[in-house]
Symmetry: C2
Subunit: 221 residues, 2 copies
DNA sequence: CTCATTCGAGAGCACTGCTCTCCTTCGCAA
DNA sequence: TTGCGAAGGAGAGCAGTGCTCTCGAATGAG
């Protein structure tokens, strides 16, 4: 039942965006609005459920796509697969992407469930960094910082992150990884939110190009 | 009069976000809601006016901050100034930033006024690229692509862009410039939309670090 | 058979964007 | 001074919203 409500709500989300009407959802199900409140305490509760689902959906897409790369030593291919998975899911589910990576709803606090799902996705990228670092494949074509040192406070922040999910990974490597991470979502948002209109038409080629640049920046062989 | 309405609306925007109430704005001005319609045809019209103002405000901030860099040959400093101007304005006006660079309102088409203001901001960055290219300062520390060639379709898109605002600028240079551009807004959005929470605390240092990495990627001396 | 639980229906409240009509006020021309 | 038209705010009203409350029908366990 709550699954059916979420399905209908997702369809409305694709049309109306974040301001979806609880009453309209109820109408589509042949029910009256108050009946929805048997299953969701409020409209924000429904949105929260959709947000958690969306985080997990993108994590599923990224995990399965990355796992499908046969050559585990092809680090650039794995990064590209991660990027394409995020972009592909976002293009297929623009409203849900906007819900989780767009401007946050004012006065709305994301529940902790979302952060663990967001962490799931990030972990896939971090694993590529770990594999590259272990194999010594990171310093090959682009030298890691040293001439452009990481600020001490940032180094401390990243060391704390590494302690949690990637023990032993140097902060400098993680720093470049976060840049690729941020750029990935920046590129997808830019495209999806219309900032590329009348500028770039070859969207897919352009995205792949950006991902390759990020692979260079990270230092993936 | 319309200026006063916009001022009050901006204050409400900072609190309620994009779903601002026209009636509440009217109440704050001691008027009844229908009076607002003498000045704005609809709520979307008011939002559009605020959006155009926001685009121009960030363009003003970027232009003046970048122009204040005394050493015009300090291309890295100029890029950093541009980035800091965008981030500073966004942190000072988060709701307006979200309005123009966050998820677009569904069923809302941005008026052409917005694109010219958006172009204003981009032009400042492109001028840095032009100056660097003219001075031959771009290939210094990081070689421009060649090993990682620009896809042909992307090259065509970028050549068309260059023809419009930067005649003679090689598409390969512009390509890296757009990456810095996208990353700038990606980084600001990531920070502003809460994706950095519990990960990076040294926000300013981290942002500057990213901008320096982008300067390296563009090849600024 | 009884009774408690589940769950949808309906009314109602306060709010929203928006439209319509009414009425006051003001500036300008005769 | 008088008349008139434009400007602009007030108010009522419509359709829609989130949400709460109460009521009644079904359902399943004892």
């Amino acid at each position: 039942m709550i699954a059916e409500i979420k399905d209908v709500a997702r369809r409305h989300l694709a049309i109306d965006g974040a301001n979806l009407s609880l009453r309209a959802v109820a109408r589509d199900m042949g029910m009256v609005s108050s009946a929805i409140y048997r299953y969701f305490a409020s409209r924000d509760d429904l949105l929260t459920a959709l947000i958690v689902d969306a985080y997990n959906a993108v994590a599923d897409a990224v995990e399965s796509t990355e796992a499908a790369v046969a050559d585990r030593g092809d680090l650039r291919g794995r990064l590209l697969a991660i990027g394409r998975a995020v972009r592909g899911w976002a293009l297929a589910n623009p409203a849900e992407y906007a819900l989780i990576y767009g401007s946050p709803v004012p006065g709305y606090a994301a529940p902790p469930d979302t952060t663990v799902a967001a962490l799931r996705t990030a972990t896939v990228l971090v694993q590529v960094l770990i594999d590259g670092h272990r194999g010594g494949a990171l310093h090959s074509d682009v030298p890691l910082p040293g001439d452009d040192p990481l600020p001490g406070a940032v180094r401390d922040d990243l060391r704390a992150v590494a302690d949690g999910i990637a023990p032993g990974l140097p902060p400098a490597v993680l720093a470049r990884g976060t840049i690729a991470w941020i750029h990935l979502f920046g590129a997808v948002s830019f495209e999806l939110f219309g900032q590329l209109n009348n500028v770039i038409e070859a969207r897919e080629d352009y995205f792949d190009y950006q991902m390759r640049q990020m692979a260079d920046l990270v230092g993936l062989a």
